[in-house]
């Protein structure tokens, strides 16, 4: 990490936190702070990505604004986190996508939909784009041939995974653990990531609603992340069915891919909708205003991907199938494209930060009461 203003401010705040330590019961950040007296820019990037933004420390802080020290850890670490996304992005020229991220995500989504519509219209037999095909085998591929889906899907998703991997390596070089990674550390990190333990706030959840605690954010994120994984599983099973079993889509409602996709889609809609609603009412003080656009754009993109998927299920036998599928595929393409250049990267860096925390779990705090 570079020594930016945000990093300098984070260092100032972490040094105060380290002399206070009242918040050590809330999450992993403060116990990690207590292991060191000096914070390199890499350490601060690690702490920033370890922070889940639960806000517990902000409302508990005796030095929060308007105190002259103005300690606002969730906001300060969110600033550093946003800068770390830019710093670790690969390839670097695309890191610019993080500036005005909401606009970028929206534009990519719009262009992807337009592209998919154009391809679908060009490929469908003249006059057949709005034809009702019932549930005959391969009906989808009359609108969008399988090879086109696979080339575009695998190509963009593959690139995004590679770019995320490069980002993860960049993070680890700068902000990773110095000690070696053990199997048990990986297990702990995975558990902490999957359960969102650090949105637990020491038992009762986050300060979603000012000073009181709730599990809202944690459960909604579970719905969203779980829904996302189920949808991904649905796609994978479908790919497997077609490629290895020779079973052509569309599949009946009572089938593994459709059930996975339906449950996943509904969970995604609930999760993203709930998180979006929370953003409308939450206290803006512990948040960074300029990051709101990108966060909301990503929630909306996920929600629309899920909604159009569910809609496609509803209309797949009708003449609306062609246009709905093209739009749905447009959203999925956009999702694949912006994966390494959007809020979605937090999953990678936060997991990596949790891994460093797990690797360092046996280190002893310095000083202490």
């Amino acid at each position: 990490m570079q020594e930016t203003e945000a990093v300098l401010n984070a260092r100032r705040e972490m040094e105060i936190c380290n002399a206070c330590r009242y918040c050590e019961g809330f999450c992993a950040v403060f116990p990690a702070v207590e292991l060191r007296r000096e914070f390199t820019a890499g350490d601060l990037s690690y702490l920033a990505n370890l922070c889940h933004g639960c806000r517990g420390c902000y409302y508990a802080c005796q030095y929060a604004p308007p105190h002259e020290w103005g300690i606002n850890v969730p906001r300060t670490l969110a600033e550093v986190r946003a800068e770390s996304y830019v710093e670790y992005a690969w390839p670097q020229p695309l890191a610019k996508a993080f500036e005005r991220n909401g606009v970028v995500v929206s534009l990519v989504a719009a262009l992807s939909i337009a592209l998919m519509l154009l391809i679908a219209m060009a490929i469908a037999a003249p006059g057949q784009f709005f034809a009702a095909r019932g549930l005959q085998p391969d009906s989808f591929y009359a609108v969008m041939p399988l090879w086109a889906m696979q080339i575009v899907g695998l190509g963009t998703f593959g690139f995004s995974l590679f770019a995320l991997g490069k980002g993860a390596v960049n993070f680890w070089k700068d902000a990773g653990a110095k000690q070696s990674i053990t199997i048990s550390a990986i297990c702990i990190a995975v558990w902490d990531a999957v359960t969102l333990k650090n949105l637990g706030g020491g038992g009762d959840g986050c300060n979603d609603n000012a000073e009181s605690f709730s599990m809202r954010r944690r459960y909604l994120h579970h719905a969203m992340a779980g829904g996302f994984m189920l949808c991904f599983a649905a796609t994978t099973v479908g790919f497997f069915y077609h490629t290895f079993m020779g079973w052509a889509a569309p599949y009946p409602f009572i089938s593994v891919p459709v059930l996975l996709g339906t449950v996943g889609g509904v969970l995604l809609v609930i999760g993203t909708g709930g998180l979006f609603a929370m953003k409308l009412v939450e206290d803006p003080m512990p948040a960074v205003r300029r990051l709101l656009g990108g966060d909301v754009a990503m929630l909306v993109l996920l929600a629309l991907s899920a909604l159009t998927g569910l809609l496609l299920l509803a209309v797949r036998a009708t003449g609306a199938m062609g246009i709905v599928m093209a739009i749905h595929l447009g959203f999925i393409l956009a999702l694949f494209l912006v994966l390494p250049y959007s809020k979605m990267v937090h999953g990678v860096y936060r997991s990596a930060a949790l891994l460093r925390r797990a690797v360092e779990r046996d280190m002893k705090p310095l000083g202490g009461e």
Partner: protein, 466 residues
């Protein structure tokens, strides 16, 4: 907006732990309660905002406290720090009551941290609030709002008008405008007077200019003075207070916990002339930190300097202000504007007096001492010789004053004639001097506030409803 014209059952002056405990308890007993906090909402909670734990007696381990901490041991600890300057009956009552507050606190939404690990931990004697005192206050305020207690911020009590042994009316300023409010019973839970530097000056003289007030700037002792001026009995020495060693660079007010320095037991501490003046290793720090404020207050210009080497540096909590660092003791002295020759001589004499051979253990009284010095250092004495060297300037940091209104064990305020006032109660720092004549035990202020707040709320509600 509460109707301020009504006569409340119970009026609570103050907005910290003791006030909230009184207000919530009174409300739970059925009283209509008005709570007046002089600070704005963002700074509500008095000194409780800066606290972290409460010292609690317990006969067996529980969810937040390890081992056992029985009445007699607690009493012995209190007896030692106060030098007997306490009231055994009232102290023992408080100690016993401290074991029974957890259930109620948890019902009010207060959450505790699993017992602390780490060096010199207080996990056996003190229950730590998850997130600290401000989180505790947040829980109490949420509970108070939920129960329908009327809360006014930016509202200072100017006078509790006592006539014939009872408070008849209470003059306040509400957001700067004078008003009078009425209540059947009144609880004074509005702290000591440490933030009133002019009043402090009466007892300390200009030394006060070198004091740091750790806590809220809103504890100006207005109600305390008002009551003492109206024939309420006083107790406690006005110069006695909870005073700790703070980094001299701390802000004048409201610096809270982070400006304290734990370096003393592992350091050599000198005054501005470069002389040592007290045994730095007398006891473990949680039992000694509260005497060092006063020790420094008694030094010339109320300043001292803690000096250690790189062996000792990792042993204590990181400080908010960076240590002053140098490659030699002389250079360090120069950087701290002390006479280098004098400081070198003091450190050399100390190093020569260290009795070698014992193994060093910062977790207990390890018996590593000096011999032949005045004063000697009796524990954790190791030579200061491994550079780089680190120094901190220290000032007295005042937490709260002990000059108090006299109360009985029902939290009733006593008049000069020894009779309890008809409808006036007190809890927290404003009556702490009844138990704490001098010295301090970590977390005992919150214990007094919680126990007496609960009693005052209970008694005030009962009286108001009779």
């Amino acid at each position: 907006m509460p109707d301020r014209k009504q006569t409340y059952d119970v009026l609570v002056a103050g907005g910290g732990n003791a006030a909230l405990c009184a207000a919530i308890t009174a409300r739970q007993a059925g009283a209509r309660v008005l709570l007046l906090e002089s600070a704005p909402k963002a700074f509500r909670g008095g000194n409780s905002r800066h606290t972290r734990n409460l010292r609690a007696m317990h006969d067996a381990p529980n969810a937040v406290l390890t081992d056992a901490y029985k009445e007699d041991e607690y009493w012995d600890d209190l007896l030692r720090v106060t030098g007997g300057n306490t009231n055994e009956e009232m102290a023992r009552m408080t100690i016993r009551a401290s074991s029974g507050v957890f259930g109620w606190m948890k019902e009010c939404g207060v959450r505790f941290q699993p017992s602390l690990t780490g060096t010199l931990n207080l996990g056996r004697t003190n229950a730590f609030f998850l997130g600290g005192g401000k989180a505790l206050l947040n829980a109490y305020y949420l509970t108070a709002e939920r129960l329908g207690i009327d809360i006014l911020y930016d509202t200072e009590v100017i006078s509790m008008n006592i006539d014939d042994g009872s408070v008849r009316s209470v003059d306040i300023t509400y957001r700067g405008f004078p008003e009078t409010v009425y209540a059947r019973c009144v609880v004074a839970s509005c702290g000591g007077f440490q933030a009133n530097l002019e009043w402090m000056r009466e007892f300390w003289g200009d030394a006060v200019d070198n004091f740091v007030i750790r806590g809220t700037p809103y504890n100006r002792g207005r109600v305390l003075k008002n009551l003492l001026d109206q024939g309420v009995a006083a107790i406690g020495d006005p110069t006695q207070c909870h005073a700790v060693a703070l980094d001299a660079r701390a802000p004048k007010f409201d610096g809270g916990i982070t400006t304290r320095l734990d370096s003393v037991p592992y350091s050599v501490v000198v005054n501005k002339h470069g002389d040592r003046f007290y045994d730095e290793g007398e006891d473990v720090w949680p039992k000694r930190y509260a005497i060092w404020g006063r020790l420094i207050a008694q030094q010339p210009d109320q300043i001292a300097y803690s000096i250690c080497d790189s062996k000792a540096f990792p042993l204590f909590m990181p400080s908010v202000y960076p240590a002053i660092k140098a490659d030699s003791v002389g250079e360090l002295a120069l950087k701290m504007k002390l006479d280098p020759a004098k400081v070198i001589a003091t450190v050399d004499a100390y190093n020569a007096a260290v009795v070698p051979g014992q193994s060093f253990d910062n977790l207990k009284l390890d018996g590593n001492r000096t011999e032949g010095l005045t004063p000697n250092k009796t524990n954790w004495a190791r030579t200061v010789d491994k550079g780089p060297f680190y120094g901190y300037p220290l000032r007295p940091g005042i937490t709260f004053t002990y000059l108090s209104v006299k109360v009985n064990d029902k939290a009733q305020v006593l008049m000069d004639n020894g009779q309890p006032a008809g409808n006036l109660f007190a809890s927290g720092e404003i009556m702490s001097g009844n138990i704490l004549g001098k010295g301090y035990l970590a977390g005992f202020g919150m214990t007094i506030g919680t126990v007496f707040g609960r009693i005052a709320g209970q008694e005030a509600a009962r009286r108001a409803r009779n």
